[in-house]
Each structure stands twice: as structure tokens, then as C-alpha cells.
């Protein structure tokens, strides 16, 4: 693909099945399907343990995406959707998961998923999603205590990064690394609005700034914005980050530096938090249904 037609904005898509795990022995098989505004994820769990998952871009028809992403997660496991005891849908498109038994918001699911991924010490969850950013406070059970979502501006979100990746022509998953490749931090771009931040970055590039430097300035602006949100909800340790952007080292390292708090290391892909949380709720719901609780 030539540089001009390359889709820098496109997030990677992938699936995985845990080796040496077999659903045939499992009592309860559940799935969580997280249809986000940009990315969709499915997590399949055996008795509350993560078994298989998939991550792909949300398409123009969310029903299809829901089916696609779930089938992809089940791909090669021999499982069919009808083998799933219970399914919970979450994310923007949660109502469009045809085979879901219930929907629960991504707020609740991310808190619970973070609890699974990072352990019971988690008190503050930052989820940087496709088009919004959530700061969630939760208790030792992974239950939401309070939460805030950013206002309508998409600054500090995945979509903002897409626009930017296109602009400086760097694949989106490398943006963070690129933004850290200079020793000196520039001032952040002054605009938090995606459109204006883009225009401003373009101006900087044309003034001859290196794309690495502009990337740093853009990431700094995103981080400032995210910190505003975090301070509003109030950060209590342990602090963790979920969602696709959690893998952007340029964001994470700057958050660490500017907040003076190190987020916990994820044991699993943090983009899955919502789907995992949903699958865990599905397990609980199923147990309730069959009288186990």
C-alpha cells in the first residue's frame, strides 16, 4: 500500500484462545460482547476465567459486528453461540447484540473487568474509549461508586488519535512510541478540540517541527484533558487504565509523570476490560437463573 493510501488510523484486529484450557470441562460458559463506537470486543469465559477473545473494528451495522466479533472469538474452539449459557452486551452498541440475554453499561463492565484484570485493589479506573473518556471510582468488589464521562469534545479519545495518526502518517499503534522518541517535551498544543488540535498540529508541521515533536505536543494536550476529568472524579489508589488507548505508551507514561501515580501493570490486554466485565456479569446472571445465588 502506498504511503498516500495507507490507513494509518486503522486499529489492529486480533483474536486469541488460551492454550491448555478446554470449554468441554466447564460448568458455566459465558460471553461478554462490548460494541464500542470504534472497536468491538468479545470475551468468552469458562467458569469466570478468560478463555478466548477477539478485537475488531465496529462496522457500519453493529448487529453484524456483534455476530462477527463473537464468532471470531469462538473461532476454532468448537464453541457455537448457542453453547453460551449467558451473554451480556455492553458498550455503545449493547442493544444491538442479537443473542445477548441482558445489557449492562460499559461503566459497570469496565469497573468489574478492571477488577478481574488488575485485582481487588483497584479504586480508580480510567477508560479511554473510541469517542469518550470515563473516570470510574469503584470498591473492592469492582462495583461502581461514582463516575464521570468527558463532555462532547472527543479530545483525549481514540477517534482523536485516528485523526492525528492520519495527519502525521504514523500507524496508530505506534503513535505513543513515536511521541516519546525525543528527549525534550514541547509545550502541548493549545487546542483540546480535535479539529483545532489537528489544524494546529498541521501548522506546527509546516513550521518545520518534526512529526515526533508534534506527536508529543498532541499527546500532552490529550493527557491534560484526561487529567482534568480524573481530578473531577478524584483519584484514589490503585489507579488503572482500560480501553484501547491504555496501550499507548505516550499517554500512559505522561499520565504517570503528570499525576505522580503509576497505573498498575495489566496482566491481560486492557482493551478487553468491558467485555470481560460483561462476561462476569453474565456468569452471575446465569448462576442467579439456575438458583446458584
Amino acid at each position: 500500500m502506498s504511503e498516500k493510501t495507507m490507513e494509518f488510523w486503522r486499529w489492529p484486529e486480533y483474536r486469541y484462545t488460551m492454550p491448555n484450557m478446554d470449554w468441554r470441562g466447564a460448568k458455566i460458559v459465558t460471553a461478554g460482547v462490548d460494541i464500542g463506537s470504534v472497536g468491538s470486543k468479545a470475551a468468552v469465559m469458562l467458569d469466570g476465567e478468560l478463555y478466548a477473545y477477539s478485537v475488531m473494528r465496529t462496522g457500519g451495522v453493529s448487529e453484524e459486528t456483534a455476530i462477527k466479533v463473537t464468532n471470531w472469538a469462538l473461532d476454532g474452539t468448537g464453541l457455537k453461540t448457542e453453547n453460551l449459557h449467558h451473554v451480556v452486551g455492553t458498550g455503545y452498541g449493547r442493544v444491538n447484540v442479537p443473542f445477548a440475554n441482558k445489557t449492562i453499561t460499559e461503566i459497570a463492565c469496565h469497573a468489574r473487568g478492571a477488577h478481574y484484570i488488575y485485582g481487588p485493589s483497584v479504586r480508580t479506573v480510567l477508560d479511554i474509549g473510541g469517542q469518550d473518556c470515563k473516570a470510574i471510582r469503584c470498591d473492592e468488589k469492582g462495583k461502581v461508586v461514582s463516575f464521570l464521562m468527558n463532555d462532547k469534545c472527543a479530545a483525549g479519545t481514540g477517534r482523536g488519535l485516528e485523526v492525528f495518526a492520519d495527519l502525521i502518517r504514523v500507524p496508530i499503534e505506534e503513535l505513543g512510541k513515536v511521541s516519546l522518541s525525543l528527549t525534550e517535551e514541547p509545550p502541548p498544543v493549545s487546542n483540546t478540540c480535535v479539529i483545532f488540535a489537528k489544524a494546529e498540529s498541521l501548522a506546527l508541521l509546516r513550521q518545520g517541527w518534526l512529526k515526533e515533536k508534534v506527536a508529543a505536543a498532541y499527546h500532552l494536550a490529550m493527557v491534560d484533558r484526561i487529567i482534568d476529568l480524573l481530578t473531577k472524579v478524584g483519584i484514589e489508589r490503585d489507579f488503572v487504565i482500560t480501553g484501547g488507548v491504555a496501550k499507548n505508551i505516550g499517554i500512559v507514561s505522561r499520565l504517570e509523570r503528570n499525576l505522580g501515580i503509576n497505573p498498575l501493570e495489566p496482566k491481560l490486554d486492557p482493551i478487553l476490560a468491558g467485555a470481560i466485565g460483561a462476561a462476569l456479569f453474565a456468569k452471575a446472571l446465569y448462576e442467579k437463573q439456575i438458583g446458584l445465588r
Binding site: 455503545y92 449492562i104 453499561t105 460499559e106 461503566i107 462495583k143 461514582s146 462532547k152
Partner: protein, 379 residues
């Protein structure tokens, strides 16, 4: 039966302009559009004029750009847009009772750019907590009454004023009675229905509206709503006639059991207490009524009222709506949050704009409801 009544309210709202035109035909009297509930409709009824509240249509108000800078709330721009689009062309005049800068601007733009026979601005005092407000407003109202008389060429007698007061008091009292049924464990009406009741009362002849309310009150006791009321919510905030939002929220397993805004309880809560000086009586009502925050200083009396409502109606959670750029309401969000928290009621703020992004709001509202129920049994 009950359903029919609420259906009629809904139709009145959806066909408000047709209604007003027909009324004008029938009664052969003037129709006046008003911007804010601080306009004393008593005096307009006394003059046999039909007051109709000017509200928006929730379409992006493109046409207002030359007249109102977009940093003012969507309500004032949307109201003006209705005028510029000629949707209120049947009104003979417009009146504003002083409240916020936003609506004042809509009034002035209307006065300057839309041909209208009568445009009147009542300087309703802001200092409602000071003792001189009532005598002052009494004189403002006398001036207003005189202006109406000169315009219609007809004297407004004390009897006329008594009639106006009677019409307004009766309508408010009946609606408050309906509100009583929202206190029940399983309310006899939804928040949407309550909103449509009050909203329609601002658009149609109050006497006709009251007749319907009396029918409603006969049958309401026997009504069984076959829906789980779910979480008992209160909605507080800026002017809010977003019926879609009400409907959507109540579909998520909740019921609005009370509200504190000017398309609801704030409009109907207080009556005019008779006094031989009728204008004094009316002035007293508008100074002492549950205030718009734009007038509520130095003490936060409205917050205390909201807390009382939350207790009376056994509210579990509150959604606080701020129309973007509505400073009077925006300024009070943290004090309000604190006041309600002190009685164990959580709040969640939402910023409304001309169109409401339900997708984003659904997640917020649903998550807020989840925190109220705690999804307890699933942990």
C-alpha cells in the same frame, strides 16, 4: 379514559399552533406569546387574551445566527427561530417577564425583526428576597395593565382580574392534585405524562385544560399502570420540554416522580392569595413563587425547596439538567448536589443542547441507575 386525557394533552402540544389559530377564530380575541413563566398570565386572562408560551422545536436554529450569538442557550435561539420561521404568525403580540439575559435577547430580537402589534417587557424584579420587590412589581404590573388596556381599547376591571386569578389558581391547583398521585409507591402517571400535562397548560386555554383535569382527577384513582416504576427519579433544571428524553429515561426502569423546573412544578406550585389590591396580590405571587435561580439570591431558597420535594416524593436519584450556557442553573449545580446529598439523594448532571445526544446520555443515565441499584445481587 385516563389514557385519552393524556392523549389529548399530547395532541394539544403536537398541534399547538392549530389549536391557537382555532381558538382565535372561535373566541375572536387576541393571542399573546410569552417567553418566561414570570409573565403574569392572570392579567392576560383578565383582558380575555390567550397567553401561549413560546418554546422551541429542537431543530438546529440556523436562522438565528445573525441575531443571537451562539453562546446563548439553545432555548432562546430556538424560540426566536420559531418566530423567524413564522410559526407564531397568529400571535398579536409578545410579552416577556424579566428573568434571564437569554430570553431577554430572544424578546428583543423578536421585537426588532418580526412584525408584531404589541411587544412588552415587564421588569419583574430580580431582588425577590428584598422587601421592596412586591410594591415595586405592583407598580410595574399597573403599567403593564394600562398598556394592555390601551392596546385592546378595553378597561380591565377588578372583576376581570378576579376572573384571571381564578382561572390560573384553579388550573394550578388541579395540576398540583394530579402531582399528589406521583407520591404513591406506584405512581398513577409517568413523568412524561406529568410534563405533557403542564406543558399543554402553557399552550391552551386554561379553562378548557382545567375541565380535562377535573375528568382526569375523577378517574386517576382507579388507574393501574402496568409498568414497574423502578427507580424514583427527580428531574431538576433549566427550561426542559424534551419529551423524548423523559420517555427514554423512563424506559430504562425508572419513573420521574417529581420535577423542579418551569415546565413542571415550578410553574404550578404557588397560587395568588386574594387581596383587595389585585395587582398587589398578583405581584406577591410572582415575587414569592418558587424562583428561577436567576432571581434566587443571596439565599439558595430553591435548593431548600428541591430538598423538600425530594423527601416528600421519596426520590432515590436526581438528574440535573443544565441547558448549555444557562448560567443561573449551571452556577447552582454544586450547591444543589451538596444539598441533596445531605438527605441521601445522589445527583447526576447532564448538559442539554438543542438536540440531545441520547446515545451518550443513555450510557450516563443507565450507569447512574446502576449505581443506585448497585446491581447488588451480581457481586
Amino acid at each position: 379514559m385516563v389514557a385519552e386525557v393524556f392523549e389529548t394533552f399530547r395532541e394539544w402540544i403536537d398541534n399547538r399552533h392549530e389549536y391557537a389559530r382555532a381558538w382565535k377564530e372561535r373566541a375572536g380575541n387576541k393571542v399573546v406569546g410569552y417567553f418566561c413563566t414570570y409573565v403574569p398570565e392572570e392579567i392576560l386572562y383578565a383582558a380575555n387574551i390567550l397567553p401561549v408560551r413560546i418554546l422551541g422545536s429542537h431543530e438546529p436554529p440556523t436562522v438565528t445566527e445573525p441575531y443571537i450569538f451562539a453562546m446563548y442557550c439553545h432555548l432562546c435561539r430556538d424560540c426566536l427561530a420559531q418566530g423567524l420561521k413564522g410559526r407564531f404568525d397568529y400571535t398579536d403580540g409578545i410579552v416577556e417577564g424579566q428573568s434571564c439575559l437569554h430570553l431577554r435577547q430572544a424578546f428583543n430580537a423578536w421585537r426588532l425583526h418580526i412584525p408584531t402589534d404589541f411587544a412588552y417587557y415587564i421588569h419583574v424584579p430580580h431582588g425577590i428576597q428584598n422587601p421592596h420587590a412586591i410594591p415595586y412589581l405592583t407598580q410595574e404590573l399597573a403599567k403593564f395593565k394600562k398598556a394592555l388596556e390601551d392596546w385592546t381599547g378595553k378597561k380591565i376591571t377588578d372583576e376581570d382580574l378576579d376572573r384571571g386569578i381564578r382561572i390560573m389558581n384553579r388550573n394550578r391547583e388541579l395540576m398540583r392534585k394530579v402531582y399528589e398521585y406521583r407520591k404513591l409507591d406506584n405512581p398513577k402517571l409517568t413523568g412524561l405524562e406529568a410534563m405533557e400535562m403542564v406543558l399543554s397548560s402553557q399552550m391552551v386555554d386554561k379553562e378548557e385544560h382545567s375541565k380535562l383535569l377535573e375528568r382526569l382527577l375523577q378517574e386517576l384513582p382507579n388507574r393501574k399502570l402496568d409498568r414497574n416504576p423502578g427507580i424514583r427519579l427527580m428531574i431538576i433544571g433549566s427550561e426542559d420540554d424534551d419529551r423524548v428524553f423523559m420517555k427514554n429515561v423512563e424506559a430504562l426502569g425508572a419513573t420521574f416522580v417529581i420535577d423542579e423546573h418551569c415546565t413542571g412544578s415550578r410553574y404550578i406550585w404557588d397560587d395568588v392569595i386574594p387581596h383587595e389590591d389585585r395587582l398587589f396580590a398578583i405581584a406577591s405571587r410572582y415575587v414569592k413563587r418558587i424562583p428561577c435561580p436567576s432571581k434566587d439570591w443571596p439565599e439558595f431558597t430553591r435548593l431548600m425547596h428541591s430538598v423538600r420535594l425530594a423527601k416528600e416524593f421519596r426520590v432515590q436519584g436526581t438528574l440535573v439538567i443544565q441547558n448549555k450556557f444557562c448560567d443561573p442553573h449551571g452556577i447552582e449545580i454544586p450547591p444543589l448536589k451538596e444539598a441533596l446529598k445531605s438527605v441521601g439523594v445522589e445527583t447526576y448532571p447532564l448538559e442539554f443542547d438543542v438536540t440531545v445526544p441520547w446515545g451518550q446520555f443513555r450510557t450516563r443515565v443507565e450507569a447512574f441507575l446502576e449505581t443506585l441499584t448497585g446491581l447488588e445481587e451480581l457481586f
